[in-house]
């Protein structure tokens, strides 16, 4: 029999598993000491899940690394202590710490592919855990335990996975392996650092469900780190909100969500497109200002400079302590004025805007197909003679967009939305079909053949703010270049004037024209990207996931900017995203894509309520919503996305569809059902049945107090 070798703990289940008291972590660089986490308190009991929420730079990941005591060469704990099962972790020897890691406290990482050794079989990586932590265990036993655990995390064909290398399985499966690896020695505490951020939404839902089951089954305590409030709502019992290295509010989850008592927490909620938000009536309210730099924190409350309730003389006097809110056990806030603020009134911010009337049709896509040729050089292909294969990136795409409208294209990876954007912009040419823009068919006009006017009138905003600008040139030079290219101005003086005007448009200081991209933050770079797109007064702008790489509050500000500009210029916005909450907030019409085909399209209201395409239904149920009054139907899709080289015959969704009706789904392409003018669903299920579906997202029936 094997015995787990671990340090001695004098602990009973009524005591906390983990306790952080006044923890302070700093990094030491050439520039000096930079505090990353300050005065951090946390208590986790057995079986409890605590969420750590915040934006980038708030210190949440640093806390996790601190608990594991793995802060790299230049990080260190400079104050407070961490008690694990009653023992101060600083008192552990190196050997005891090594025994602790992986067997008492285990971690699940953000990027599963990078966290697995690419040159070692998964089986070996799994088996290492019990082999190194349990004395007396044999290889055979370790193997069997690993196989069993893979089955527990719902991986099909565990034996095959044991022999495989990480790159041979999908992202979702990799994360399941990482979870299995973490659980193999039955840890008491699980640290999850953004475990689903790198995964598709429908895959994410499966992982979240798995984690929940595990927590129940093994009674493991969890610390769940995320920036996604909806996710925390679904998985945790308690929540800690962090800002600039400190916890600003903590408490039971329903408490904090419904009765928040810190201006930052409220600011965060105002930035999230909840189902109740509406871009004209109740727009998102970005938090003004910027995150303070770690070495330039203001005196007093760190959030003070950005807070609408800031009281000079009080809020900037000295360090703010956590205050307990009476009547609410465990609910604390780091706000001096929590008792004075009227939490019921809505925050000051933008007034409701005017509704934009959609105009004439500006873009018409008809029967668009984009196939890529792929040379197959495997032996099988050579024998059968079929060397040339086709990746059907876009298949039968048809829809329109009107002036001033926002059309969202929604889908997960591999659905073909990026390819579609490329074809539209002229970076690729269509294989078949029509793209009529301003009465010109652009389908086989690559960018080289388009006139400057055509180019200027359809521009793109890109996803990754860090790559969207050329690092070697100044902002002014890049904007000026585009202005000249589009033929807007020729005279150098006038060009420079226009550059400054564009910077005004995106609310950036004029002196940024002299700066280089590395001196700007992600949000600022994205604003420049928007300025660049609007330089030629375009009729249509394609925005490819413009805010998914940005923090919540920054994303809100950029989204807000985009809608303002659009409203002023009546530009048509083609918005590509996987974030359904944002889509519901922004879009007038929605096109849902799966594996290159359109599954459903219609107005936002039509798509977000029954009848649904089964994929839309699953997608809607997978998106976490940070609203306690909403009840969501739970639909988990089996399997993973089929390979684009080998798409399923018939309906592309049939391999994972939870409403599959039978053989017909596998053999025949689904017909286009018309539910109303403009609302089309591609499905074999009869329309009446679809109309009878329950809504996925609904208000909770039980009345709140």
């Amino acid at each position: 029999m094997s015995r787990k070798s671990s340090p001695i703990f004098d602990w009973t289940p009524d005591q906390p598993v983990l306790q952080c008291e006044g923890l302070c972590i700093s990094y030491f660089t050439r520039a000096g000491e930079i505090p990353a986490v300050l005065d951090f308190d946390l208590t986790v009991m057995q079986g409890q899940s605590v969420g750590l929420v915040g934006e980038s730079g708030c210190g949440k990941s640093t806390v996790a690394m601190g608990i594991m005591r793995y802060m790299g060469r230049n990080g260190g704990i400079v104050g407070g202590r961490i008690l694990y099962k009653g023992r101060d972790m600083a008192s552990l020897s190196d050997e005891e710490l090594r025994q602790l890691r992986g067997s008492e406290i285990a971690m699940i990482y953000q990027e599963p592919m990078a966290s697995l050794n690419p040159s070692m079989t998964l089986g070996r990586q799994l088996m290492e855990v019990p082999l190194n932590h349990e004395a007396g265990i044999s290889e055979k036993e370790a193997y069997e335990r690993a196989v069993q655990m893979l089955a527990d995390v719902k991986l099909p064909d565990p034996e095959r996975v044991m022999r495989a290398y990480p790159h041979q399985i999908s992202g979702g499966q990799q994360q399941r392996v990482v979870i299995a690896m973490a659980l193999l020695s039955q840890p008491s505490l699980l640290l999850l650092d953004e475990p689903t951020t790198a995964l598709d939404v429908t895959v994410e839902a499966g992982i979240v469900e798995l984690i929940g089951e595990i927590a129940e089954r093994f009674n493991t305590s969890m610390i769940y780190i995320s920036h996604n409030l909806g996710l925390i709502l679904e998985t945790c019992d308690r929540i800690n909100v962090m800002y600039s290295g400190v916890v600003v509010e903590e408490g039971e989850i329903a408490e904090v969500f419904d009765r928040m008592r810190h201006p930052y927490t409220r600011g965060l909620f105002n930035c999230i497109p909840l189902p109740g938000a509406d871009k004209t009536a109740r727009p998102l309210l970005p938090i003004p200002g910027q995150l303070p730099l770690p070495h330039e924190r203001p005196t007093g409350c760190y959030f003070g400079p950005r807070c609408e309730f800031f009281a000079a003389g009080r809020c900037d006097a000295g360090p703010i302590e956590m205050e307990v809110i009476p009547d609410q056990p465990g609910h604390r806030t780091r706000c001096l004025r929590w008792n004075e603020i009227d939490w019921a009134t809505r925050s000051k911010g933008k007034d409701a805007g005017e509704e934009v009337e959609a105009g004439d049709v500006v873009l018409r896509i008809d029967g668009l197909r984009k196939y890529y040729e792929v040379r197959d050089s495997s032996i099988a292909a050579m024998i059968s003679g079929k060397r040339l294969r086709h990746v059907k990136a876009n298949e039968r795409i048809s829809f329109d967009a009107r002036e001033g409208q926002t059309v969202a294209i929604v889908g997960e990876s591999g659905c073909g939305k990026s390819t579609f954007a490329k074809v539209l912009m002229g970076l690729e040419t269509a294989t078949e079909g029509e793209i009529v823009f301003r009465n010109q068919d652009l389908a086989d006009k690559p960018i080289q053949k388009r006139t400057p006017q055509e180019i200027a009138s359809m521009q793109m905003v890109f996803q990754n703010p860090f790559d969207t600008l050329n690092p070697s040139h100044t902002i002014g030079a890049q904007l000026g270049r585009v202005i000249k290219k589009f033929g807007v101005e020729k005279n150098p003086e006038k060009v420079r004037q226009r550059v400054l005007e564009l910077l005004d448009l995106v609310k950036l200081p004029r002196e940024f024209a002299r700066r280089r991209p590395r001196q700007l933050s992600g949000g600022q770079k994205q604003r420049v990207g928007i300025a660049r797109a609007f330089a030629g007064n375009p009729q249509m702008v394609v925005a490819d996931e413009p805010v998914s790489a940005l923090d919540v509050s920054v994303a809100a500000a950029v989204t807000s900017l985009l809608t303002d500009i659009q409203r002023t210029y009546r530009t048509t916005l083609l918005f590509i995203s996987h974030d359904l909450s944002l889509v519901r907030y922004l879009a007038d019409r929605v096109v849902v894509m799966y594996l290159g085909n359109i599954a459903e399209q219609g107005s936002t209201d039509e798509v977000f309520s029954p009848p649904y395409h089964p994929y839309t239904e699953a997608l809607l149920s997978a998106v976490p919503i940070a609203d306690t009054s909403i009840e969501k139907k739970r639909i988990i899709l089996e399997g993973s996305l089929p390979s684009v080289l080998n798409p399923p015959k018939g309906c592309p969704f049939n391999t994972r569809c939870h409403r599959k009706i039978g053989r017909i789904c596998e053999t025949e392409v689904p017909p286009l059902l018309q539910d109303g003018p403009g609302h089309v669903i591609a499905c074999h299920i009869p329309l009446d049945e679809l109309r009878a579906m329950d809504p996925v997202i609904a208000e909770k029936q039980s009345a709140a107090e």
Partner: protein
């Protein structure tokens, strides 16, 4: 996998073919200049014409090329102008000598460089790392002919421990091999060490090493089982390509120490305009170079699971 190897081999043959064609055209397209080289600069026009006719040089170049290629492939390299014997008689023994020199060099250089590289990469930024890096930079800054002079002065002239030349005039003397090997190792280990260091340092930064640490694995296991198998992939290619480098470096060393090897043969052939010897030696050198490239490619594919298993 087999297809990949097959494709590489075919590509290699094609490359060799093109090289041989270029070489042939450059050296022998002008039959008269060949004749002059063979017969000497003072030959008359008639003697040249006679020689050309007797040796088949009046035929079209593509016919001559095919015949030449056939000869090369069967090992008939023609007659050396300088040595007045069949080229093959001079070439193979000299190649053998160089092979010995190269073999001993590699046997010392590779383990040394890999060990130093791994140590430096493991402790990036430490004193060990800085020392090894700076040493590597310094040793690769001293050209082989310079270090040959420096080491000869040190070990032969001043200390008298080692012979100053390696002509092996009294039969095989292993002592005479020491200085040439030392020069080659001194210059060559630095590059391999630095590439290994870079590879190791990069691997140590990877997230999967963090995973291994946080899994509670002992340090030894992490280095030996997790880090090395990823860090050694790139250096393998580098080592293979160093064989290519060696073919160049060997020329200088052999000339400096009067070692009768393949490198000094090429130089002698070039200086003496010995056409057939140049052609044969070049073809052999190219063959070795291209083979090592193919081996490097194939090896890299085999070592890297991401490419090997699709």
């Amino acid at each position: 996998m087999l297809i990949f190897i097959g494709k590489r081999l075919v590509y290699m043959l094609l490359t060799m073919l093109v090289v041989s064609l270029i070489l042939f055209l450059v050296m022998e397209i002008n039959g008269e200049s060949v004749a002059r080289r063979v017969l000497g600069p003072f030959t008359s026009g008639e003697q040249i014409q006679a020689w050309l006719a007797a040796n088949g040089y009046l035929r079209p170049w593509y016919v001559r090329y095919v015949e030449w290629l056939g000869n090369i492939l069967t090992g008939d390299f023609g007659q050396s102008i300088r040595f007045r014997t069949p080229v093959a008689d001079v070439l193979w023994p000299r190649l053998g000598n160089t092979a010995i020199l190269a073999g001993v060099t590699f046997a010392i250089m590779v383990p040394l460089a890999l060990t130093l590289g791994v140590l430096a990469g493991m402790r990036e930024g430490s004193k060990t790392d800085r020392t090894i890096t700076v040493t590597s930079v310094v040793t690769t800054s001293i050209p082989e002919f310079a270090s040959a002079v420096l080491l000869t002065v040190l070990f032969s002239t001043w200390l008298g421990w080692l012979p100053g030349t390696s002509a092996m005039s009294d039969g095989w003397n292993s002592l005479e091999l020491i200085l040439p090997v030392m020069v080659l190792v001194l210059y060559g280990f630095g590059y391999i060490a630095r590439m290994t260091r870079a590879s190791m340092a990069e691997v140590m930064q990877q997230l999967y090493i963090r995973t291994a640490v946080l899994k509670g694995l002992p340090y030894r296991t992490i280095i030996l089982r997790h880090a090395l198998r990823n860090a050694m992939i790139a250096p393998f290619t580098v080592i293979m390509l160093q064989i290519n480098w060696l073919l160049s470096g060997v020329i200088v060393v052999e000339v400096a120490f009067a070692y009768k090897g393949f490198g000094s043969l090429i130089l002698e052939a070039a200086l003496n305009q010995d056409v057939y010897l140049i052609e044969a030696a070049t073809m052999v050198a190219v063959f070795v170079a291209v083979s090592t490239q193919v081996l490097a490619d194939v090896g890299y594919t085999l070592l890297n699971p991401r490419i090997r298993f699709k």
